[in-house]
């Protein structure tokens, strides 16, 4: 088997590096202009001409080899270590045709490491519109490299790039610039001390810690005779090096890069002016958010109702079709109810991610990050913290991993600690079902109360995050300041393929990722709710029959039977009248009697099921924690749901769906079952405004996600921070929910 060519894709953020990677490898992967999207190692295989294969490594985006973050240090560490298994045979530097000057800084640094380099000038399709003309031959000659002019949007130039990679041996590995001229004496001493080492590599090793905290690396034995310079002197030399590089780049671009300013349109500048305006920018963002939440509610209600009905009917069908027994009950009441509790939220989650993907793809999200940076500075957060906080609306886990781009450790730690406050997709099912139950229908300025509540919860989560950051900032006393440098990508029409892929991936990730946990918990809960050890559980039917005979049905069941019977009588008379018949008194009485018997049997079954559930293993556990959750307005069933959702928030809805299905023999939707639930103490609906708001606030602030805790542990390398996070957030959520319920009840 022939040896694969090892290729490293390197480039500034937002140059379309990931798109080039996709074109080369064909691997499906997220593509977007969101800053910091490439935060990890990605690899793939590319077929080159003449049967040659290349191993492509997509490295994190970096502006230069002067590292300022963990992400960037990954690139430098690889390029400095020839023994690394991924050390490239050839480096492919991706640049953006509109930002070539800045992108070439990184190119010249890599070239000076004496690695064969190919320069990709991406987004070539924009050249005409922007009035850009390039002299590729001159650029190739001056930069001593080969260039591929690529448009990943149109899929052009990739074949040329593959050809260049296949012929990488013909590339020059001579450096572009002699760095030693910035301090000849110092470099002479360096050369004398390490005669066998490459000077530019040594320089990078020495200066690596100037901007960034020390990272783990193998210690080098430095002779006592060699004295390096102080940090400030090294920093000054680094600046001289950068100036030298830009002088070199400017000289080349003056001849080879022309921009016809008349051809360049000023639309982007005008749009930026409006969208990042300190008043209109926020106003537009606010209006976009309003429109998104309203659309989520308006568009998804029909598919949601359909899914709810479908699962209710499916459950009934299973019971009617399969042989009666406990396993049939498990499928109907445990598995289907649990899955239904998750699947029902697919439409809303898909719509949310559709809008987020459209905002990202169009380039607007970067403007939002810029806007938010301004807003967050007074709270002591870096502009780079905005990226994790916005990513947190999908899932806190990748968001916490995205904090690796933050250079300052304390700022990074604060961002890690506050990110779980932002409303992740796991909270969405809880919010949606509770809002549907307790927030009345109605509109304010054309926007439904329910959509407004959902938006308020998102803002509340974001507010809680920045407020906590402010407190942590004061406690931790951050003195150092970092600067937020972010590139505004061009506006573009979203690629439907990318948007569709994002929606599909995120929805699939939610359903399959959370779905497995929810399914497992639903099965266990059904088992615990259908089994018990006490006499009360096994003799439930006798006990309930006796109770009905002596005390009668519960008030709720009596009222329910009366209203059902009245409704039945009215419907029957209407139906007869429509057909032109008149029902005689005897027939009406007989019919009503039959219906009453049927309703009584149903009510009895319900009371038996309810009594059994109360005395099952689950009921006993729920009652044990009831005193703790009762002050929040929750009964023992909600208590169980809160407890199980410590694994993952979305388990809450699945748990309630399972609990309310155990023993149920009628076809009904989850929402209807929940809205019919009566508080045994107050005799009012259990899910009312007070208890509903209490649940919403509890879930807005509580740290209920084991996976997030695990990732915080990994990122902080300590159990101290996740433990503190869990205790603080849970206590805070409990207190806020308690206050809300006690005020509103």
């Amino acid at each position: 088997m022939s040896k694969q060519i090892k290729v490293a894709l390197i480039g500034n953020p937002n140059t379309g590096k990931t798109s080039v990677f996709n074109q080369l490898t064909g691997l499906k992967q997220k593509v977007g202009n969101y800053p910091g999207i490439t935060v990890e190692k990605k690899e793939g295989i590319c077929k080159l001409p003449r049967g040659v294969k290349a191993h492509i490594l997509d490295l994190p985006g970096t502006y230069s080899l002067n590292t300022t973050s963990l992400d960037e240090s990954v690139v430098v560490e690889l390029l400095l270590n020839k023994n690394d298994k991924d050390y490239p045979d050839v480096a492919v530097v991706i640049s953006d045709v509109e930002n070539l000057k800045r992108n070439l800084l990184l190119f010249t640094q890599i070239k000076d490491l004496k690695i064969p380099v190919i320069l990709v000038i991406n987004m070539a399709d924009r050249m005409n519109r922007k009035g850009i003309s390039l002299d590729i031959d001159l650029l190739e000659e001056k930069l001593d490299t080969k260039i591929a002019l690529v448009s990943t949007r149109k899929g052009t130039g990739i074949d040329r790039l593959k050809e260049l990679i296949a012929n990488y041996k013909s590339l020059s590995s001579s450096p572009n610039i002699d760095t030693t001229v910035i301090a000849p004496e110092y470099f002479d001493k360096l050369k004398a001390t390490f005669p066998n080492e490459d000077l530019y590599k040594l320089w990078l090793v020495i200066t690596q810690d100037v901007n960034f905290m020390p990272i783990e690396k193998n210690p080098i034995s430095i002779p006592a005779s060699f004295k390096t310079k102080s940090k400030s002197e090294l920093k000054r030399l680094q600046q001289k090096e950068t100036i030298l590089r830009y002088q070199f780049i400017n000289g080349i671009l003056k001849q080879a890069y022309k921009v016809d300013l008349n051809a360049a349109k000023g639309l982007r500048a005008t749009a930026d002016k409006i969208l990042t305006h300190k008043i209109f920018g926020y106003l537009i963002f606010f209006l976009i958010l309003l429109a998104i939440f309203q659309a989520i509610y308006d568009w998804s209600s029909y598919p949601m109702d359909f899914i709810d009905e479908l699962f209710a009917t499916g459950s009934e069908w299973v019971k009617d079709t399969l042989p009666p027994g406990v396993f049939t009950d498990l499928i109907a009441e445990g598995i289907l109810a649990g899955i239904g509790g998750v699947v029902i939220f697919i439409p809303q989650i898909a719509f949310l991610f559709l809008f987020i993907a459209l905002l990202e793809e169009s380039g607007y999200m970067s403007r939002v990050v810029f806007l938010m940076d301004r807003l967050m500075r007074p709270f002591g957060l870096s502009g780079k913290s905005v990226v994790p906080l916005i990513s947190g609306t999908a899932c806190a886990i990748p968001a916490i991993m995205a904090t690796r781009t933050i250079e300052n450790w304390k700022e990074r730690l604060i961002t890690i600690l506050v990110t779980p406050f932002t409303t992740c997709s796991a909270r969405l099912p809880v919010y949606l079902i509770i809002i549907a139950l307790v927030i009345p229908d109605g509109r304010f300025l054309g926007l439904s109360y329910q959509a407004l509540t959902l938006m308020l919860l998102y803002l509340l989560g974001f507010g809680a995050a920045i407020f906590s950051a402010m407190i942590l900032n004061k406690i931790m006393k951050i003195k150092t300041k970092t600067f937020f440098v972010m590139e505004m990508p061009n506006y573009k029409l979203p690629l439907l393929k990318n948007v569709g892929y994002t929606v599909l991936e995120k929805t699939k990730s939610f359903v399959l990722g959370a779905g497995k946990i929810i399914l497992a918990i639903s099965i266990i809960l059904w088992f615990l709710g259908s089994n018990g050890y006490s006499d009360d559980f096994y003799n439930a039917e006798e006990i309930v029959n006796q109770k009905i005979e002596t005390e009668g049905f519960t008030d709720f069941n009596l009222q329910n039977m009366e209203s059902s019977l009245t409704a039945y009588q009215a419907a029957l008379q209407d139906s007869m009248a429509l057909q032109g018949y008149e029902l005689d008194k005897q027939a009406l009485t007989d019919s009503l009697r039959t219906k009453a018997t049927e309703l009584r049997q149903k009510a009895k079954n319900q009371e038996v099921a309810s009594y059994k559930l109360e005395n099952s293993y689950m009921g006993l556990a729920g009652k044990a924690i009831a005193p703790l959750v009762h002050p929040l307005g929750y009964d023992w069933k909600i208590g169980i749901a809160v407890l199980t959702s410590f694994a993952a928030r979305e388990v809450f809805v699945g748990t309630l769906a399972t609990i309310y299905s155990v023993g149920s023999d009628e076809e009904d939707t989850i929402k209807n079952r929940m809205s019919a639930e009566i508080d045994p103490v107050t005799k009012k609906p259990l899910f009312n405004l007070a208890s509903g708001i209490s649940i919403l606030l509890f879930y807005a602030f509580a740290m209920q996600c084991m996976s997030t805790l695990a990732i915080v542990k990994r990122e902080t390398n300590s159990w101290k921070w996740p433990t503190a996070q869990l205790v603080f957030m849970s206590l805070f959520a409990y207190i806020v929910a308690l206050i809300a319920y006690q005020i509103l009840k």
């Binding site: 990605k42 396993f327 498990l330 886990i397 990748p398 990730s509 990722g513 946990i517 099965i523």
Partner: protein
């Protein structure tokens, strides 16, 4: 028939418990796969899948 259904229930519950124990209690390194997945949030061992 009811015995068969009982057995099926116990097997299903045992699988569910086993899955949760594996997911949340046992060390992740026991089940580490060699190849990273490029799906979902980007990192196969992040724990959210």
């Amino acid at each position: 028939m009811s015995t068969v259904q009982d057995i099926l229930v116990y097997i299903t519950v045992a699988i569910a418990v086993g899955y949760l124990v594996k997911k949340f209690l046992l060390p992740r390194s026991l089940f580490a796969r060699k190849k990273n997945s490029s799906k979902g949030c980007g990192e196969g061992d992040c724990g959210c899948h």
